[in-house]
């Protein structure tokens, strides 16, 4: 698949994946993949297990190095994690400090960034308000539900004032109702703050619902069968809602297209 064609002389794209491939245990999990992400875009990555979507995300955030190729943010290679790229882990329980309160956990991001103590309180309150945890600041993670814990993690990521947010199946471990409300909250936050998001999920509907673009990966790449199998633009107007959007003809068309493709991939 060719990367987005840019007119000659245009500035470096916000995020560029250039021939990124990943090998694990001698096998190629992800064949050389290239695509660009523009600032403010919400890109969803879907695919069956083993297609390398999580590893791709981790490589993009600098947590691991790709076996070949490069990920460049604003022209510079992502070899190490950076505070400007926030990462939301799927296992939220293990990504929070159990001995700190919700406020304490959010504060960690500010402390790491060297924000002076006097300013922290206001910023923490602001970000907790955004995710709806304003009244739970003094609670410890063990006292929170799964959804609240994930919101705490998102709050901490927002406190970093990131340019780019990487999300690895953030709602996968939550029940359906919580998932839906968090999807809408996330869409609102992203819109308010103008964030660029890379969102990995196995849920096709979630990908279409949230994304401006959906990238579908397939497992076991081989000759003539690249990992990057499909890239579709989601041209459904925003703001979207759980009922209306899911009955929108474009939503249904994309859903059918993606489903068929995934089924095909399962042969």
């Amino acid at each position: 698949m060719k990367p987005n064609d840019l007119p000659v002389g245009m500035a470096e794209p916000f995020l560029r994946f250039e021939d990124v491939s990943i090998r694990l245990g001698g096998r190629e999990i992800l064949s050389p993949t290239s695509f660009d992400v523009a600032r403010g875009e919400f890109v969803c990555i879907v695919g069956p297990s083993g297609c390398g979507k999580t590893t791709l995300l981790r490589a993009a955030s600098g947590l691991v190095a790709p076996s070949a190729g490069e990920v460049r943010r604003k022209g510079r290679a992502m070899t190490e994690p950076s505070r400007e790229v926030a990462f939301v882990f799927q296992d939220y329980g293990r990504a929070l400090l159990p001995w700190r309160t919700v406020e304490g956990n959010v504060s960690l991001a500010l402390e790491a960034a060297g924000v002076p103590a006097a300013e922290r309180g206001a910023r923490i309150a602001d970000v907790l308000g955004k995710v709806g945890l304003g009244r739970h600041g003094q609670k410890f993670p063990v006292q929170l539900s799964g959804g609240m814990q994930q919101r705490t993690q998102i709050a901490r990521c927002l406190a970093q004032k990131p340019e780019l947010m990487m999300m690895d199946e953030p709602f996968g471990a939550l029940d359906a109702l919580t998932r839906q409300s968090l999807q809408d909250e996330l869409a609102r936050l992203v819109r308010e703050d103008g964030l660029t998001v890379l969102f990995v999920t196995h849920d096709l509907e979630e990908a279409i619902y949230l994304g401006d673009r959906v990238i579908a990966l397939q497992a076991n790449p081989g000759l003539g069968r690249p990992s990057l199998a499909r890239m579709i633009n989601v041209e459904i107007p925003r703001p979207r809602d759980q009922l209306g959007t899911k009955e929108h003809p474009e939503f249904l068309r994309l859903r059918r297209e993606l489903f068929a493709f995934i089924e095909q991939g399962h042969d």
Binding site: F87, R94, L97, R100, E111, K139, Q143
Partner: protein, 251 residues
């Protein structure tokens, strides 16, 4: 009367029954009073002794125990943190540490006597050295077992190494460290008492040894009671501190 109070009273009743048994057995001479003094004699010795020098002995033993324990905890945590944060250092050093774990602390006493002679310093050295190992091993374990996800979060936030050790490593290791310190406290008391016995240092250890040699059973029992009390109070205080420090586990 609710169930909890009932249990408490029942428990108290059993204890009182045992004390009553003690009273009967010793007063009626079922067990020779050379070994088993009567409760009243024990109490009398306790009261008398505290007015005399038993209090000094107790304070000496407690002082030895606490000094050694605090020293051991400080060194143990510092050293344990240094070893625990680095997987490389751990790989080299940990097997040797595991070898030392089962060794009796008191076994070092002959060596310490050769080096320091029969002195308070000798006892303190062995107490501190013996009590250090549980704290050190627990600290190494606590630092080694940091949730990998938290390590990644620290990388994503670009936390400095020092900040990571202080804000993530240490709190994470706290439950282990406190458990190690509790064990260390028990060892401190034991080694302090043994040290006093061997090196004839002022304290409860020496006091009960002399009492036994002079066949003064009630004084012996008074000393045992005090040692039990020291063990009980020190453990209870530490458990309380642990509960406060680990409030986040059970808020």
């Amino acid at each position: 009367m609710n169930a909890r109070t009932q249990t408490w009273l029942g428990s108290l009743a059993l204890l009182s029954a045992l004390v009553a048994l003690w009273w009967v057995a010793s007063n009626a001479g079922w067990v020779s009073r050379v070994f088993l003094p009567t409760p009243q004699a024990t109490f009398a010795s306790l009261a008398e002794g505290l007015r005399a020098d038993l209090l000094d002995f107790t304070l000496a033993t407690v002082g030895r125990m606490l000094q050694g324990w605090l020293l051991a905890s400080l060194v143990g945590v510092a050293l344990g943190a240094a070893i625990g944060v680095s997987p490389a250092v751990r790989a080299w050093v940990q097997p040797t540490l595991e070898f030392i774990r089962p060794l009796p602390a008191s076994a070092l006493m002959p060596l310490a006597i050769s080096i320091f002679g029969l002195s308070p310093g000798m006892v303190l050295f062995v107490v501190a050295f013996g009590a250090m190992w549980p704290v050190l091993l627990a600290t190494v374990h606590g630092f080694a077992c940091v949730e990998p996800r938290l390590a990644e979060v620290a990388r994503c936030l670009q936390m400095s190494r020092a900040a990571f050790v202080w804000k993530v490593g240490l709190p994470n290791a706290m439950p282990d460290i406190l458990a190690g310190m509790r064990l260390a406290l028990t060892i401190s008391l034991i080694v302090a008492v043994v040290g006093e016995m061997i090196a004839s240092q002022t304290g409860l250890g020496q006091a009960i040894l002399l009492a036994a040699r002079a066949f003064r059973a009630s004084e012996l029992f008074a000393g045992i009671v005090l040692l039990g009390l020291i063990g009980f109070v020190s453990n209870a205080l530490l458990a309380l501190a642990e509960k406060k420090l680990l409030r986040w586990q059970r808020p």
